[in-house]
Amino acid sequence: MSEHVQTSNGHTPLLEVTDLVKHFPVKSTGVVRRTIGQVQALDGVSFTLEKGQALGLVGESGCGKTTTGRVITRLYDPTSGSMKFEGTEIGQLSGRQMMPYRREIQLIFQDPYSSLNPRHTVGKIVGTPLEVHNIVPKKQMIPKVQELLEVVGLNPEHYNRYPSEFSGGQRQRIGIARALALRPKLIVADEPVSALDVSIQAQVINLLQDLQREFGIAFLFIAHDLAIVRHFCPEVAVMYLGKIVEIGSRDQIYNTPHHPYTQALLSASPDVKQAAIGGRRERIRLEGDVPSPINPPSGCRFRTRCWKAQDVCAEKEPPLYEVGGRNVACHFAEPLQVVQVPVVSEGATAVSPT
């Protein structure tokens, strides 16, 4: 159950997601393709997002962060659970009923190469949402597209060019212009900068922040780069194997992480400024890989890689406990300073003494 969703005070958040579940069936080969299992991509995810706010979703590949984004934009239908957009349940709406909400929720994709049709001009790409939703008459299309291109920092004269004539950073700006075309209230940004060069990433991040301030757009910001998420989002949720393991404010998550996975993730991400000053830090070393979401571990899903795991972790799945202001799904949640971490690599002793 979701303990941190607060709607009792009569105030409606922009987006309220409760116990969202998305399972993908695994079919057997052969003529009769029976379902032989379920990939539990999302298994009970709950969060709320206020108007104009930004929530970051971080986690490793396969943790379900992209699936979350795609379910919220209704590119996938949820298996169960509820998603309320401004109080309206949108999880079960038909395509026609969904139309007005598609205007409000837009998506920015990770790969600026595969997400733009190479045979359409920029004007066509950015103009299509306006056309589909009948926002502007055909005659005013070009000025409107040019205005959008200018907003994202592209030359408005380039509306007649094709995506291949632009660099990666510029292509991502085209994708952003397309998402902005309908003046959405919520943008799901799925790894918007991870395909870009370092010096270009900062340009795009600053652009997104300016747009957020100017138009009051709420962002669901999905990324694996912890530093970028910290920079962009005042609120952060850490996901592991289809579940949120810790959710709280930026300071709570980054300064005093309570979940062992958050702690490991933070200590593993290299940080140039810290390293430049203090040299190599000690880091928590997680063993092995993320388990398969087809057959996740019983109880706590992180227990197979956790140094705190005890018998209770295999038996009972930890709910989101409220500890120190944030919600954390761990039986032994506590700040890192208090505990002795046994699995710390000193300098370089990564290979386990087998």
């Binding site: 490793e60 990433q201 290299p270 940080d271 070393r285 997680l286 890989d289």
Partner: protein
């Protein structure tokens, strides 16, 4: 598939070159590719050296020439499609213009490479064990059984669970991190003296990245080899490399000991790189400081300093020298080991007084 010429038994390492030269010396390396559109000047006048037991980090954006230059060390460029000038010496052995058989004896034996994407670097039709055994038996006259045991030992060393069973697996049965480990096992099977890791962790998650970086470092300590690590992630460089070489538009623009370069950078491009990355401690209310513009085309590199079209510090240089004159890679005010390619007279003062606060947060 194994067509290696084994008729020349003398060692690749020429004993005459035992004077105090570093293990790998790259001197004035220029790599150019003639294309229909013109000559791509991928690498221009690049020089560096790596000693045994040391790690050199090469950092730069895509198209800066970091991969092209290190592929040249292995002699991987097709001589018909590329022009190489300068000199690359591995333990005294000249690579540029070396015969195919010389290169074959060198590759995988003295010099090994870890590629970014194990899915394209390893073969999907052969078992992982098969591929490691092949690499081992090419350079060592041992029985198949012994080589097979060696493959299991290597997989164990890089931390793959149940190596006896896993050695018979195909690539698709491995996870991303395990594939990268298998490739490291393959690269290290002959105890190479020089290991080139080209973006070894870019495709991996951070917790797996930490495992792989630790592994590379442990291996280096164990075998005392020289390591070149190529990445666009300054954080990886900061934690791993002894020396760092910053490349831009095919040229070295800053070179020196890692801590020195990262704490006292002297080149506006390095300032830009440091300012544009987010980190997990600094003030989040301040915007990132991006580098304006995009990297230049190497078909037609800018005149003068290659960075000048994007550089915001040109007013610190008198006249228009940035546009007209290529700065040389020269030691800056902080000593002989710290080289930079920039006309700015006193970058240290400028950095400490105006930029440090802004960049380091």
């Amino acid at each position: 598939m194994t067509t290696v010429d084994r008729t020349m038994p003398e060692p690749v390492v020429a004993p005459s070159s035992a004077q105090q030269e570093p293990f790998l010396v790259v001197e004035d390396l220029t790599v150019q590719f003639p294309t229909h559109d013109g000559l791509v000047q991928a690498v221009t006048d690049l020089s560096y050296a790596v000693e045994l037991g040391e790690t050199l980090g090469i950092v730069g954006e895509s198209g800066s020439g970091k991969s092209v230059s290190s592929m040249a060390v292995l002699g991987l460029h097709d001589a018909k499609r590329s022009r190489l000038e300068g000199s690359i010496r591995v333990a005294g052995q000249e690579i540029i213009g070396a015969s195919k058989s010389t290169l074959r004896r060198l590759r995988g034996n003295d010099v090994a490479m870890i590629f970014q994407d194990p899915l394209t670097a390893l073969h999907p039709f052969f078992t992982v064990g098969n591929q490691i055994v092949e690499a081992y038996r090419l350079h060592n006259q041992v029985s198949k059984k012994a080589a097979w045991n060696r493959a299991i030992e290597m997989l164990d060393l890089v931390g793959i669970p149940e190596p006896q069973r896993r050695v018979n697996d195909y690539l698709h049965q491995f996870s991303g991190g395990m594939r990268q480990r298998a490739m490291i096992a393959m690269a290290l099977v002959n105890n190479p003296k020089l290991l080139i890791a080209d973006e070894p962790t870019t495709a991996l998650d951070v917790t797996v990245q930490a495992q792989i970086l630790d592994l590379v470092q442990t291996m280096q300590k164990e075998f005392g080899s020289a390591v070149i690590i190529i990445t666009h992630d300054l954080g990886v460089i900061a934690e791993l490399a002894d020396d760092v070489l910053v490349m831009y538009a095919g040229r070295a623009v800053e070179h020196g000991p890692t801590k020195e370069v990262l704490t006292h950078p002297e080149m506006p491009y390095t300032w830009g790189l440091l300012g544009s990355v987010a980190d997990v401690v600094s003030d989040t209310s301040k915007p990132l400081i991006p580098i304006p513009g995009t990297p230049p085309s190497l078909l037609n590199p800018p005149s003068g300093c290659p960075f000048h079209p994007r550089c915001t510090y040109q007013d610190h240089v008198e006249g228009s020298r940035c546009v007209s004159e290529l700065p040389l890679l020269r030691p800056g005010p902080r000593g002989e080991s710290h080289l930079k390619r920039c006309h700015i007279k006193d970058p240290e003062t400028l950095y400490q007084e105006e930029l440090k606060e802004e960049i380091m947060g």
